[in-house]
Symmetry: C2
Subunit: 192 residues, 2 copies
């Protein structure tokens, strides 16, 4: 993207567009800055209930911390014999997808000079629990399919709003991971 | 799993093991009960910040609601020009993985009569942001790899604790989705 030839976009939709474009150009010149590592630490609470904290991450050549330590829990619902103290792990996947695509829409609309007034989405994931319950080896453990439907309102025709969604999908980290998969290694070590 | 031939396991680790086993046997006899749909509804707040709510889901032959409406936000960190009002979408993926595997460990340990005293895990995901920033088409948008390391303490030898982790991994919905991928459809409709 060669932004030098275009007039700079002003901040819009709560996105500091000039800084975002400058950041992209800066990283383009120093690819090592693009290497990030995100982290979560989880502790079991009781039954199927556990809590993760998310604070530190690395990237842009150094270590960073969120402005505060974020935490969230997960649990199984009562119909699956959990205590329902939090959303289920598979609902967190839907949350990750919606927040990723919506953040992209915010950034991309700002970069294209489109003022958004409302963005809503509705995610559904279908799963046959015979997999995780160990009832059938022919049923996968995870979702069979996921769908997300957006409603986007802004000062652009529907075709342009749809193009913004399409670009958000094309550059979504979570959409990529969910649709293409990623290698995950699981290990156990003695408490330190 | 034929539990009739074994003495029933008592509740353990906060898991109502007899009810869990009965539930599995009941669903085994009526596979349609295993069809679940989980949902999240998301609303854009500002910039890259949005909030999801998770309340209703279907399964076990009917509609259900969590004991309360759960909500959570997502945002981009300041180093990526976000407001850092919440964890990033890709951190939510790590949270989903940790809570899923940990819930499995709680259930499986109870079913095997192992009393857990502590379960902690540490998840890391490595990502090259040249993908999502549109700098390189040869770099994927999502994580390159994810690793999760567990520390498990309980009244069983390390080998048995490791087997419990292995079974949790083998029956994890989130591990399956992350490693194998899932079809995701994205659509847009007019506000209703």
């Amino acid at each position: 993207m060669n932004v030098q030839t275009r007039p700079p976009r002003p901040p819009l939709n709560g996105v500091d567009t000039p800084t975002l474009i400058n950041t992209i150009n800066f990283v383009a010149g120093q690819p090592d800055l693009a290497k990030f590592q995100f982290r979560a630490a989880n502790e079991w609470l009781d039954g199927t209930n556990s809590r993760s904290t998310m604070l530190g991450f690395s990237g842009a050549g150094g270590e960073h911390k969120h402005v505060k330590s974020y935490s969230a829990e997960g649990d199984h619902p009562t119909v699956l014999c959990g205590a329902d103290r939090a959303p289920t792990p598979v609902e967190w996947l839907l949350h990750a997808l919606a927040t990723c695509l919506t953040a992209g829409i915010g950034n991309i609309a700002a970069a294209r000079g489109v003022k958004l007034t409302r963005v809503r989405s509705f995610v559904e994931g279908n799963i046959d629990l015979r997999g995780i319950l160990g009832i059938s080896d022919e049923v996968r453990n995870g979702y069979r399919d996921i769908s997300i439907r957006f409603e986007i309102e802004g000062d652009a025709p529907p075709e342009k709003l749809q193009q913004i969604l399409e670009q958000a999908r094309a550059r979504s980290a979570v959409f990529d991971v969910l649709t293409n998969g990623v290698p995950v290694s699981v290990s156990v070590s003695r408490a330190q």
